[in-house]
Symmetry: C2
Amino acid sequence: MSKGITPQSKDYSSWYTDVVRQSELADYGPVKGTMVIRPYGFQLWDNIKESFDKMIKATGHVNAYFPLFIPKSFLAREAEHVEGFAKECAVVTHTRLKADDEHGLVVDPESKLAEEIIVRPTSETVIWSMYKKWIQSYRDLPILINQWANVVRWEMRTRLFLRTSEFLWQEGHTAHATAEGAQKETLDILELYRQLAEDFMAIPVITGLKTESEKFAGADKTYCIEAMMGDKRALQAGTSHNLGQNFARAFDVTFQNKDNQEELVYATSWGVSTRLVGAVIMAHGDDKGLRLPPKIAPHQVVMVPIAKNENGHLKVREFISPVLDEMRKGGIRIYEDWSDNSPGFKFNEWEMKGVPLRLEVGPRDIESGQAVLVRRDTGEKIILEKNMITEQAPRLLEEIQKGLFEQALAFREKNTHEVSSYSNFRDTIKNKGGFIRCGWDGTQKTEMKIKEDTNATIRCILNNEDLSGMKCVYSGNPAKHVVIYGKAY
Amino acid sequence: MSKGITPQSKDYSSWYTDVVRQSELADYGPVKGTMVIRPYGFQLWDNIKESFDKMIKATGHVNAYFPLFIPKSFLAREAEHVEGFAKECAVVTHTRLKADDEHGLVVDPESKLAEEIIVRPTSETVIWSMYKKWIQSYRDLPILINQWANVVRWEMRTRLFLRTSEFLWQEGHTAHATAEGAQKETLDILELYRQLAEDFMAIPVITGLKTESEKFAGADKTYCIEAMMGDKRALQAGTSHNLGQNFARAFDVTFQNKDNQEELVYATSWGVSTRLVGAVIMAHGDDKGLRLPPKIAPHQVVMVPIAKNENGHLKVREFISPVLDEMRKGGIRIYEDWSDNSPGFKFNEWEMKGVPLRLEVGPRDIESGQAVLVRRDTGEKIILEKNMITEQAPRLLEEIQKGLFEQALAFREKNTHEVSSYSNFRDTIKNKGGFIRCGWDGTQKTEMKIKEDTNATIRCILNNEDLSGMKCVYSGNPAKHVVIYGKAY
């Protein structure tokens, strides 16, 4: 009864959509480009969310909520910002519907707004209009606010989790008294993003700086975490922006500094979104479906009873319940599948849904006082004495968490190439895919030419690399930066 | 330096706005009718949210997320529903802005949508369009889904937390195989709402049924919790709807029942919103500001050091830190106010912000090995030996939680009246305010006439009341129901 997932090797894109739909992570909504996040997918997102929320609270950040609606004029105040978002805005123009004899329900023309409203694509403008009210003196700084919210960017080509018109995210918006303060915050958050990706989602990431052409519209500098997906393409998984004084200038937000002088406030903003769910799917998934890292998996263990009837169920329950209770006390998230489906169906189902450990309990297990644990990452079967399960399960979950990370890291390393010439570069991108680590002369001309030729882009500029003797892969001029090239989602 | 809050007795409405703004719970956003929930207000909402989220998860509900955008045509499918929401909809008509030499940034007319999109005022329609895909058989039921989301209802008269164009809420949307299942769910949730209000927010509520004219647009029956605010007006604090088969009919959602017959699915929906924050403010606040119930207060204890200089701070810290650490281990949320402001300023500040317990530690306290605890609800000062604080603080917090509830309950009972005649009814509403408990003949005519005369409405129909010999307060005809009348927010 397996529904059939397209193999990755046949068509990675179909594999992705099959996994998302069949494992009930998400579905398309009725308005083009919108997404329904189903309970299983939402719990996965919620676990990622909770992990990051704890991190930012531990570092002094607080949550707040700013309005969905932004006056159109606000967007125009920061020149690059409006340039970046004007072409993908949902615009509210009216506030009422009315019945029309001829056409049914129509927009009431009399409800037309004097100024159109933009559904937030991001909240810098509305937040800095409020910070203007809240900030007077250096004593009011820093402000370290985050919000968890939905945002809308009209997209023509959409893909569940990766690119949808509406998505969920967190957006941090901080205000600082000094340029150094803002830069430190930008990098501190980048480090938290790295930890979230590597320590919780088991996805190795490269951290670095975006080029001028790839940075956020309105930022001085954009830092990012970049991950390699199972098809060797790059996914930008999070960005942290040093906004300098750009938004303070646009919204006239000044403060009295310690020397009693008026100064423009320094800003950062940073975000990760439901796109991270897409990253988890593509970094770890295989032809059977999802493989979820235990730290963020909705269920860490699924218990599947092997029993033919009510009486069989009863025996399994009697045997295993005390063990499950104890595991739960230890903080393990367990799902017990008592449904009518056959054990084989359940095995497939929960493998597809990526549950890290399967606990099987059948009549022979009960007789011999043991149970079978099956690892989703390796398929390995472990037979354990009943009284060893509680002790061994957390250890196995840790191993799976670590194993998934190491596997993804090895995959990335195997698929990160050095090249000897530009023709080698082009061949590698075309035939092997993956990342290329190389020198760049720092010119936009080179960046654009390579993009034109190969569709690969600079994913990020690496920090603290040794440039001595290094040349630009395209121009042959001395390299200004070491960069990572790849084709991106 | 107290900023001055208008006394309740002078102008309750100004008192409310002063408290919300000055205690930094919320602020108005740039688009008319929108609200910014500031960190202190957001933490309060988040604590309410977490409390309820645990309750619904413990009863088998799961969270999900459905799109913000609804096709206009969906709204029209359920006749009462569209009637209820058409006049207050934010309508998205375009998806792009462009630069115009003459007018600056304008809506790009070429981006006009073929079908206009509604920003969700509530999600029944979009959710039932998805349930149609997900439900085939009785085996797929019940579906017990909730979402935490923002919704938009265009409002002309707005008030922070109570009535804003955008607000945050939870909306549960469940699907059932039987009418009994849906009715049970409707009432189970009503009971959870009662617990949330009474046990967490310390607000006594009356539970009951809405009249036909006050029920949700699209429901068969709407149940509610109603609370009395400090100005004796009623606040509808939560509603639970039995939607019957109305939305299943509108979206053609059928299932194969156990007898192999196609049947329309039964539905409920239910919601509480950021309005609950307004309820907390008005049920407990006094002329000094907020009084927050410990279970939902962002800070349960604020520690104010009484010290003149750095050295004084150091001594306080040394003395009290071990106590605070131990209290935190016990799960108490503590804020330490080490700011430069004077102790007097801090006392006012944290009284205004409603922190249940203030812990004062000064040089004399340190000398005598004790500290002072001050209750926000009663103003009572309690001097405690240092080693008694950890033990006594949780007990005091419990007492405050209980005390606030009892005070609100006594206030409601004192202001709930029985009346002997309709002229007595009118006098009472006009001169005393509060609730009136009386008989109603069940006709809309009576309901409308009383509303016209007095501006009071039936807040809810009570359940299981003895009707013998009871007459309608207006018509004198035999009463069909015992109801609660009051002026409402």
